[in-house]
């Protein structure tokens, strides 16, 4: 029941919002997203942290095609649901000061997307998963293309065609699995239980992997990402970087590796190398960026590369790292993008060299920015540390050399992040930055909440890790059973 509310309440909110003229839309959207957050809180309290699926609703949807509306929450889903429902109100609140044209459509689309995301993260039916996957894509396309900046049409068309290409291949994979399934349904357990030979698994692996790799994005499928992040409106960037790319990560954990373990095994080394290349490559490009938003976009590619490596290492340690890092990365990256958006909305630039001395005129902004940035570079005691540590450790366990190369990300990240901070915040003010005003009102609330999350999760991550532990363990046992069972 609670889960159904999480799925359908934003939808109701979206419809309601789109009929409201003027400024009321954002308030309604905020109220709906906060209600979702409260319900999430209730779910977390009622959740028993074992490997089982809870809050399950399974009804036949399109009976003739064997499609069920089958949703539920286990530990892995729970983390992503928490992520979505914490970040959505923050994102809405973050755009509170902005006056978007047609704001009713804007907030309606955000809520619609939230609903799609929850479906993705809780679906246990492959067809439903696919529907949610696409239902989350359409609104973000409109958000980015309608309220974005320069070149938004071209850039977003690229983004859209890229992602939809990936998902079409995934659809083929899903149809193939459905046809192989003697029960003729899309149930995840039936998919887990399928006995496919290695060739079949390889094909399915690529069909799914393309979709997830484009979404995350993993090198070399990342080319849509920096442009899209840069041109998108602030809320769009936050949605993309904060939540949407976790769809790819979640998809790989839930639908790729457990369904085709042998297929994954066959291509594992290639994927790991690609992921680590992404980490290093994106870090190096980030060095060179003059635009802070683009820099964060590339740093996000680097972080996600590490998460991807963790996903495919597929040990209890690495998956736990993935879980906590999904959450942390989401929080940090929307914090960073929000700070940049605040600067942009006042100075109309995000060029690093044009800024400077902001700390003098806006000390509060400087402090919260520093805290979030420390989280992003994974300083011990911040939320980024625990995840990054687990991930690097598991990459190292997979292959020491890869681990060493991936470890460079910490150094690189620290260098380009702090250099950016130094150039933007420290030093003397210039003509442009002298009149900068410090954060206030809703900006303060959002950034304080984010900072609090950075520190709380950094200092005491145990409850979160505990939520997903049993499910992760269970998933790994399942995969190992399948791997040993066939060999």
């Amino acid at each position: 029941m609670e889960l159904l509310l999480l799925i359908f309440l934003p939808l109701v909110g979206a419809i309601l919002t789109s009929f409201i003229k003027g400024n009321g839309a954002k308030t309604i959207a905020l109220i709906f997203s906060i209600i979702s957050l409260v319900i999430t809180g209730v779910i977390v309290c009622q959740f028993t942290p074992d490997a089982s699926r809870q809050f399950v609703t399974d009804v036949s949807w399109i009976a003739q095609l064997g499609i069920h509306f089958n949703v539920g929450i286990d530990g892995i889903s729970l983390i992503t649901v928490i992520l979505t429902n914490i970040l959505t109100p923050l994102i809405i609140l973050a755009s509170y000061k902005r006056n978007y044209e047609n704001s009713n459509a804007f907030y309606g689309l955000i809520l619609f997307m939230q609903s799609g995301l929850i479906v993705v993260f809780t679906a246990f039916d492959a067809f439903l998963f696919y529907i949610g996957w696409e239902a989350a894509l359409i609104p973000i396309y409109f958000i980015c293309a309608m309220w974005g900046g320069k070149d938004r049409i071209k850039v977003n068309m690229k983004f859209f065609v890229y992602t939809i290409a990936g998902s079409l291949f995934m659809l083929l994979g899903i149809i193939y699995l459905y046809l192989q399934n003697p029960m003729h349904n899309f149930d995840i357990n039936a998919f887990y239980a399928l006995n496919l030979d290695t060739t079949q698994q390889s094909w399915i692996f690529w069909a799914f992997f393309l979709a997830f790799a484009i979404k995350m994005p993993v090198f070399p499928f990342h080319t849509w990402q920096p442009d899209t992040y840069t041109t998108a409106p602030a809320a769009g960037t936050m949605l993309l970087a904060g939540i949407m790319l976790k769809m790819g990560v979640y998809g790989a954990v839930r639908w790729l590796i457990p369904v085709v373990p042998q297929g994954t095994d066959t291509w594992l080394s290639l994927v790991m190398v690609l992921a680590v290349i992404g980490v290093v490559y994106a870090s190096i490009i980030a060095f060179k960026q003059k635009d802070a938003k683009r820099l964060i976009a590339y740093s996000s590619v680097a972080h996600v590369g590490l998460i991807a490596a963790g996903v495919f290492a597929f040990t209890a340690q690495s998956l736990q790292g993935v879980m906590i890092q999904m959450l942390s990365h989401g929080i940090n990256v929307i914090g960073l993008f929000f700070v940049l958006d605040i600067i942009y909305s006042r100075l109309k630039t995000n060029k690093i060299e044009e800024l400077g001395g902001l700390a003098k005129v806006a000390p509060q902004l400087a402090i919260v920015f520093l805290i979030i940035m420390l989280g992003a570079v994974a300083l011990p005691g911040t939320n980024g540390f625990i995840g990054e540590f687990l991930l690097l450790l598991s990459v190292y366990n997979y292959n020491a050399w890869l681990g060493a190369v991936a470890g460079l990300t910490i150094i690189f990240g620290a260098v380009y992040m702090f250099r950016t901070y130094q150039n933007m915040m420290l030093g003397e003010t210039n003509a442009l930055t002298a009149g900068f005003t410090d954060i206030k009102g809703s900006e303060k609330i959002v950034l304080y909440i984010i900072c609090a999350l950075v520190i709380i999760i950094g200092v005491y991550p145990k409850p979160l890790l505990h939520l997903s532990e049993a499910s992760v363990q269970h998933l790994i046992e399942q995969v190992n059973q399948k791997l040993t069972g066939v060999n």
């Binding site: 095609l65 309608m146 068309m157 859209f160 065609v161 079409l168 659809l171 083929l172 046809l179």
Partner: protein
């Protein structure tokens, strides 16, 4: 039978109403007639009857009759102010469309090849006139002439094929033909092979499958838009129903013989339709080419014939029809206002006309095959079908074409929402709003809860 009679009688009544200058009564009379015909369709459900060995009205025929009648109804709702601005004698439009519809009902319910031929002719002759009904318009005349020449030519192929089949079996009855084939599958008369190929060519002309599609864009562009709507939706659907009835029924035993030929036609149709649509500046021509590519997807169910083929075509055709009606209706409104049908004239449409823009967006998403719209269910069924037969090449081509489709369908959405435009408010009559609302609800309903029309046949 009662359906055909109702429609034909309505046509005559409307003609007389026109004679007595009862202009106001035309539309209500037509709608009433169509509703009665639809009522008969619903009443005859699950009650197959054969009339004189000529027509076999089974659920298949009724389903396709129903969708044809409903789409014609929607199109008639769009006639307000449309014909009146073109001509004084609007009763003729109504009559001709209704007669064409009666031909279409024969096409979807024939049991005898002569009935197929007569149905196609009744439909086509009316359409030749309708395409050229703007006597003083050059494009309209060109469309009519082209359509007539090509149509006559293709009917020739069809007839030649039918005679060859008759030569082989001594019967026009499709059941007799099928039995003949089943009983003598090892010693099939050689006349069958050219006969099947010729009939296939004739029907491919009618449904606008490549490489027999060259008439489509010009005719669609030249004909009055409302007539184009009728041709792109009802006529096309009927063509596929006729195709399926013959090839999935009578010629099914020779499946292995004609599948490769049809497979090539499908691939060419998909690629030609989509790639050419990509380069169109005119929205109307883009829709014409996209209709060619949709014909390609529809032909999928003929390549792999299963018990679900008929239903797949029905679902796909319904989805496509609803979306097309919206697209053409918006085109009519835009053209009335701006006088042009290039995609640029849609620029900035969403600002002043949010509802129309939303309806057209839903239509385009459905045509592109985005989930939660009817078009996705249609495409999904087609993919499922092809996957079932493991035709990998077809599948890859279908996927690539779906991608191309996204690109040009989104061009319209991009124009409406993301580009600066003229900020004109379109004058939208009540009936148009009704059609938009009905079609959008239909598309979303089929998209979200397709149970209602899956397994209907």
């Amino acid at each position: 039978m009662n359906i055909i009679i109702t429609i034909a009688v309505t046509a005559l009544v409307v003609l007389y109403a026109g004679l007595f200058k009862a202009k106001k009564a035309l539309l209500p009379l037509t709608l009433l007639g169509l509703l009665i015909a639809f009522g008969f369709t619903v009443c005859s459900w699950n009650n197959p009857v054969t009339y004189y060995g000529m027509l076999h009205v089974d659920n298949f025929a009724l389903a396709f009759s129903g969708i044809s009648i409903i789409s014609t109804l929607l199109i008639f709702l769009l006639t307000q102010n449309y014909f009146a601005s073109n001509s004084k004698n609007i009763a003729e439009y109504f009559t001709l469309i209704l007669f064409a519809l009666s031909g279409i009902i024969m096409m979807v319910s024939y049991k005898n090849l002569s009935m197929l031929f007569i149905g196609i002719e009744i439909m086509s002759v009316n359409l030749y006139i309708l395409a050229g009904i703007r006597k003083l318009n050059f494009a309209s005349n060109e469309a009519s002439l082209k359509y007539f020449l090509m149509g006559a030519f293709s009917t020739g192929f069809l007839l030649f094929g039918i005679t060859l089949i008759y030569g082989a079996t001594g019967s026009f009855d499709i059941d007799v033909i099928q039995n003949n084939l089943v009983n003598s599958i090892t010693t099939v008369s050689p006349l069958f092979y050219p006969g099947i190929i010729l009939i296939m060519i004739g029907l491919c002309f009618k449904v606008g499958a490549a490489p027999f599609h060259f008439w489509t864009p010009d005719v669609y562009e030249g004909a009055p838009t409302l007539i184009t709507t009728f041709m792109a939706t009802v006529v096309k659907t009927a063509g596929f129903a006729a195709f399926l009835r013959l090839f999935a029924g009578a010629f099914e035993p020779l499946h292995d013989f004609w599948t490769p030929a049809l497979g090539i036609i499908v691939i060419v149709t998909l690629c030609v339709g989509n790639i050419t649509a990509l380069y169109q500046k005119s929205f109307k021509r883009m829709l014409a080419y996209s209709s060619i590519s949709h014909a390609g997807y529809l032909l999928f169910s003929l390549i792999i014939i299963s018990s679900a083929s008929a239903n797949n075509i029905f679902v796909y055709a319904s989805a496509y029809t609803l979306a097309s009606v919206i697209a053409f209706a918006v085109l009519i409104l835009v053209k009335q206002k701006t006088g042009s049908d290039v995609i640029e004239s849609f620029n900035g449409l969403a600002k002043k006309n949010p509802f129309i823009a939303f309806a057209l967006t839903v239509a385009m998403l459905s045509m592109a095959g985005i989930p939660l719209t009817a078009g996705f269910i249609g495409k999904y069924l087609m993919f499922l079908n092809v996957m079932h037969g493991y035709h990998l090449l077809l599948l890859v081509i279908a996927i690539l074409n779906a991608l191309i489709g996204f690109y040009y369908y989104f061009k319209v959405i991009v124009a409406m929402y993301f580009k600066e435009g003229h900020d004109v408010a379109l004058e939208t009559p009540m009936q148009y709003k009704l059609v938009f609302a009905l079609s959008v609800v239909g598309i979303l309903l089929i998209g979200i809860y397709p149970n209602i029309i899956l397994n209907i046949i």
